[in-house]
């Protein structure tokens, strides 16, 4: 595996191997070895990503060719199954699209979260004005900022993402995406920068390798519909 102080020769080898992988000249077993390494060696993965960006210009050599019309239906059948019932026009639609239901669920979830946070962190959240320093680190044109909070008493500096407010306050909401299920809200990150979310007991078993966590920008307090409505600012799979 590559290390920060890898020798020059190692770097040449890694550059060549990554380039060969992106070009596509390797045989199947060599390709599989590279893919296995990509999963745990982030430095090597960055070299591959760089070759991909460098060589992507060659994609202009490909023309465009419309695939047969039936292909997309076949893809949807493979992903969503043969007897698909869309939430928007199926019998479950009335429940699924029910705003009061989702409002209720959201309020209950936020209430639960607040309660858990309150119980867990009551002492830490209590303001100590002379010891707490806060800074907002805003990215240019970014939907999110980082709030840095320094606790002089403990020496702990916590950095937490929050939604950029602008005219109206916005919230960041964390979602759990499992397989083909619609995303489940894991809660709203507190706007104060005290951004820890306590995962409810019954949800903990679902946070395992292979599921995706995503963060969206939502109206203040979280999505009113129970579905992500705003832009996704970050998403990633939990590694096994």
């Amino acid at each position: 595996m590559a290390t920060p102080d890898q020798s020059k020769g190692d770097r040449s080898r890694d550059e060549v191997l990554a380039g060969e992988y992106v070009l596509g000249v390797l045989n199947l077993s060599e390709r599989q070895q590279v893919e296995a390494r990509l999963r745990h060696d982030w430095q090597f993965a960055a070299i591959v990503r760089r070759w991909e960006a460098n060589l992507a210009h060659f994609n202009v050599d490909y023309d465009e060719e419309a695939p047969p019309a039936a292909i997309f239906a076949e893809i949807e059948r493979r992903i969503f199954g043969p007897s698909l019932v869309l939430p928007s026009n199926g019998p479950l639609a009335a429940i699924w699209n029910s705003l009061p239901l989702w409002r209720g669920v959201s309020v209950a979830a936020i209430g639960m979260l607040a309660l858990l946070l309150g119980l867990q962190w009551a002492s830490e959240l209590r303001p100590k004005p002379d010891q707490q320093l806060t800074a907002e680190l805003a990215g240019k044109d970014s939907a999110i900022s980082l709030v840095a909070q320094y606790d002089g008493a403990s020496g702990r500096l916590a950095i937490t993402p929050v939604a950029n407010g602008g005219a109206e306050e916005r919230s960041l909401e964390l979602w759990l995406v499992e397989g083909e299920q619609p995303p489940t809200s894991l809660g709203v990150l507190p706007q104060t920068g005290q951004g820890e979310i306590l995962i409810p007991d019954e949800m903990r078993a679902r946070l395992t390798g292979g599921v995706t966590l995503a963060v969206s920008v939502e109206p203040f307090g979280g999505s009113p519909t129970g579905k992500a409505t705003g832009p996704i600012v970050a998403a990633g799979e939990i590694l096994r």
Partner: protein, 188 residues
């Protein structure tokens, strides 16, 4: 073709948004189908591959670390398509004999990643290719576009397999140095 918001669409697909998935298909399927045909050289095989590729895009959208750059988002999708076709191609061919002889490779300078900003190099690759011998530049480009193996490249250019390996590896290192140089004009 509008590609600006493919990154956004991928973000929505990671949240299982079917409408966004359908839009990605509308925007990208013709280009991706052309990639499949070019590499696989068989229309039926290309149709099957295209289905597999879109299933992968659906499954892997969450692993696209979006940075709001539409060109990068399409490059990510195109890479899924090319890699899938190349794997498929290698699977249907009998494995080639391993003839990998350790090649002496010239050393590269210090890792430029600390200096260079990671971004799409756009048209720079073309000017760097021009610095190579025409045969070698053509080998690099054909390997990428058609997904050719070392064996096929050696046959196409009528040189021994190990000669082709040496050509291509040295060409890759020259390209890397050239691209790094372009990324750091203040040090060139």
């Amino acid at each position: 073709m509008e590609r600006e918001d493919i990154a956004d669409l991928l973000g929505r697909v990671s949240l299982r948004d079917r409408a966004a998935f359908s839009l990605i298909y509308q925007r990208c399927s013709a280009k991706l189908f052309a990639i499949c045909i070019r590499i696989l050289k068989d229309r039926n095989d290309a149709e099957e591959a295209l289905q597999d590729i879109f299933v992968k895009i659906w499954q892997k959208a969450g692993s696209y670390a979006g940075n709001g750059d539409g060109a990068n988002a399409f490059a990510w999708i195109a890479a899924i398509a090319r890699y899938h076709c190349i794997d498929r191609l290698r699977q249907r061919k009998p494995p080639t004999v391993e003839l990998d002889v350790a090649t002496e490779l010239p050393d590269l300078g210090p890792d430029p990643e600390h200096h260079a900003i990671l971004r799409s190099e756009g048209a720079r690759i073309d000017s760097c290719l021009e610095a190579l011998d025409p045969d070698r530049a053509q080998a690099v480009r054909q390997a990428y576009v058609e997904g050719m193996s070392y064996q096929e490249l050696a046959e196409r250019f009528a040189v021994p397999l190990n000669t082709m390996r040496t050509w291509l590896r040295r060409s890759l290192l020259k390209l890397r140095e050239c691209m790094d140089g372009n990324a750091r004009p203040e040090q060139g």
